[in-house]
C-alpha cells in the first residue's frame, strides 16, 4: 500500500523480492546497497539465521529522487525463500506495491522455481491481490553458471504473461538495477492510474 504524505511531500512504496531459497534475493539487495550513494539509502537490515539464510526479511530503504516536488522512497523487502517459512512470506506481502520474482537459472532448481511462483500467486490471492494486475517483473539470476537453462525455456515456464524480464548475475550486479528500475517505473505508473 503506497503512502502519500502531502505534508512532508513524500511518496513511499513497497517492493518485495520473491523467489525460491538461495536464488539471490538478498544478494540483489546487497548489491543495490553497496552501489547506492549514502544519502540515498538507509541502513540495510537482514533478519537472518546463523548460516545467513533469511529468517524473516531483508529491508532496504532507498530514495530515488523527486517527481514534481515529491520525494520518492522505495522500501525494498525480500522474503525467506525456504518452503517452511510460508507464514512469514504472507506477512511480508501485505501492503505490497510491486513484486520482483527472482528465478534461479539452474536446471536442478526448476521445480523450486515453479513451486515458489505458484506460492507467490496463491499468497497474493489470499491477501486479495492478483499477480496479473500488480506491477511485476522477473529476473533470471545465476546466468553465469554452466548449468543455466536457456532463456527461452525459463520464459516459457516462469513468465507466461510476458512481463518485463531480465538476465541477472546478482553478485556482479548484472541485471540488478535494470530489474529495480523496471519495477519502480511500473509502480509509479500504476500510482498515476490510481491517482
Amino acid at each position: 500500500m503506497s503512502f502519500i504524505n502531502y505534508s512532508s511531500r513524500e511518496i513511499n512504496c513497497k517492493i518485495v523480492y520473491y523467489g525460491p531459497g538461495l536464488c539471490g534475493k538478498t544478494t540483489n539487495l546487497q548489491y543495490i546497497y553497496n552501489k547506492t550513494n549514502p544519502e540515498a539509502k538507509g541502513k540495510m537490515i537482514s533478519l537472518a539465521t546463523e548460516t545467513e539464510r533469511t529468517l524473516f526479511f531483508d529491508f532496504l530503504p532507498l530514495s530515488l529522487g523527486e517527481i514534481r516536488g515529491f520525494k520518492t522512497r522505495f522500501h525494498l523487502y525480500t522474503v525467506p525463500g525456504q518452503v517452511f517459512y510460508d507464514a512469514s512470506r504472507k506477512l511480508i506481502l501485505k501492503g505490497v506495491d510491486g513484486v520482483v520474482y527472482v528465478g534461479d537459472s539452474q536446471m536442478e532448481r526448476m521445480e523450486a522455481n515453479i513451486e515458489s511462483l505458484e506460492n507467490l500467486r496463491s499468497n497474493l490471492q489470499e491477501q486479495g491481490y492478483d499477480l496479473d494486475k500488480l506491477p511485476y517483473v522477473v529476473q533470471y539470476n545465476k546466468r553465469d553458471l554452466p548449468n543455466a537453462i536457456p532463456m527461452a525455456e525459463l520464459e516459457e515456464a516462469l513468465n507466461p504473461t510476458k512481463v518485463p524480464s531480465f538476465e541477472g548475475v546478482a553478485p556482479k550486479g548484472i541485471g540488478v538495477f535494470d530489474t529495480l528500475k523496471a519495477v519502480a517505473k511500473l509502480v509509479l505508473t500504476e500510482l498515476r492510474k490510481g491517482g
Binding site: 524473516f56 522500501h75 498515476r192 490510481g194 491517482g195
Partner: protein
C-alpha cells in the same frame, strides 16, 4: 488500483500534536506513529539519535508476526506489546487496526503511566484517522499523480 494511505497537512499536524502531548504527559523518551507497513509519519521527543526508518520497519514486522500468532490462537489481535530493556523500554500498541503507536521510555516513567496516557492518546488518534479515511474516500483532494507524465517517471532514472 493500488490502495493508498494518504496524509494531509491538517491531519498530520493533529497527529503530531497528539504525539507531543503523549510524549510530555507520559514522561517518555520518544513517541512514534507508524503505518502497519512500517512507514513512520509522526514523531515526538528524542528521535535524533534513533534510526526511525529501521525501527519502524522492524516494529511493523514484529506487529505483523504477533498478529499472525494471535490468529493461529483464534485471537482477533494482541493489541499491545511491551519490551523491557535495561535502560529503554518499548510499549507498542495497534490503533484503530490501522496504525502502530510506539512509546520509548526509561526510568523517568513507568509502564502504568505509559499505558494510561496511551489509552487517552489512542482515542484521540482514532478520531483523526476516521476523519482522514473519510477525506481520502471522498476523493475531493487534488491528486499529485494525475499531473505526472511518462517523462517525469523516466527522468527519475536518468543517471
Amino acid at each position: 488500483m493500488i490502495q493508498q494511505l494518504v496524509m494531509y497537512e491538517e491531519e498530520l499536524s493533529q497527529i503530531n500534536n497528539i504525539c507531543e502531548v503523549l510524549h510530555r504527559d507520559s514522561n517518555a523518551r520518544a513517541v512514534l506513529v507508524i503505518d502497519k507497513n512500517g512507514q513512520a509519519f509522526a514523531q515526538a521527543g528524542e528521535v535524533e539519535q534513533l534510526d526511525v526508518t529501521s525501527l519502524s520497519s522492524l516494529t511493523a514486522g514484529n506487529v505483523a508476526a504477533t498478529g499472525a500468532i494471535a490468529s493461529l490462537l483464534s485471537e482477533k489481535e494482541f493489541a499491545g506489546q511491551f519490551h523491557e530493556g535495561e535502560k529503554t523500554n518499548v510499549h507498542i500498541s495497534i490503533v484503530g487496526q490501522r496504525v502502530i503507536m510506539v512509546v520509548l521510555f526509561d526510568e523517568r516513567s513507568s509502564l502504568g503511566l505509559v499505558r494510561l496516557r496511551v489509552r487517552k492518546a489512542t482515542a484521540e488518534l482514532v478520531n483523526v484517522l476516521d476523519l482522514l479515511a473519510k477525506k481520502t474516500a471522498s476523493g475531493t483532494q487534488p491528486s499529485v499523480f494525475s499531473e505526472i507524465t511518462d517523462d517525469d517517471i523516466d527522468n527519475l532514472f536518468n543517471d
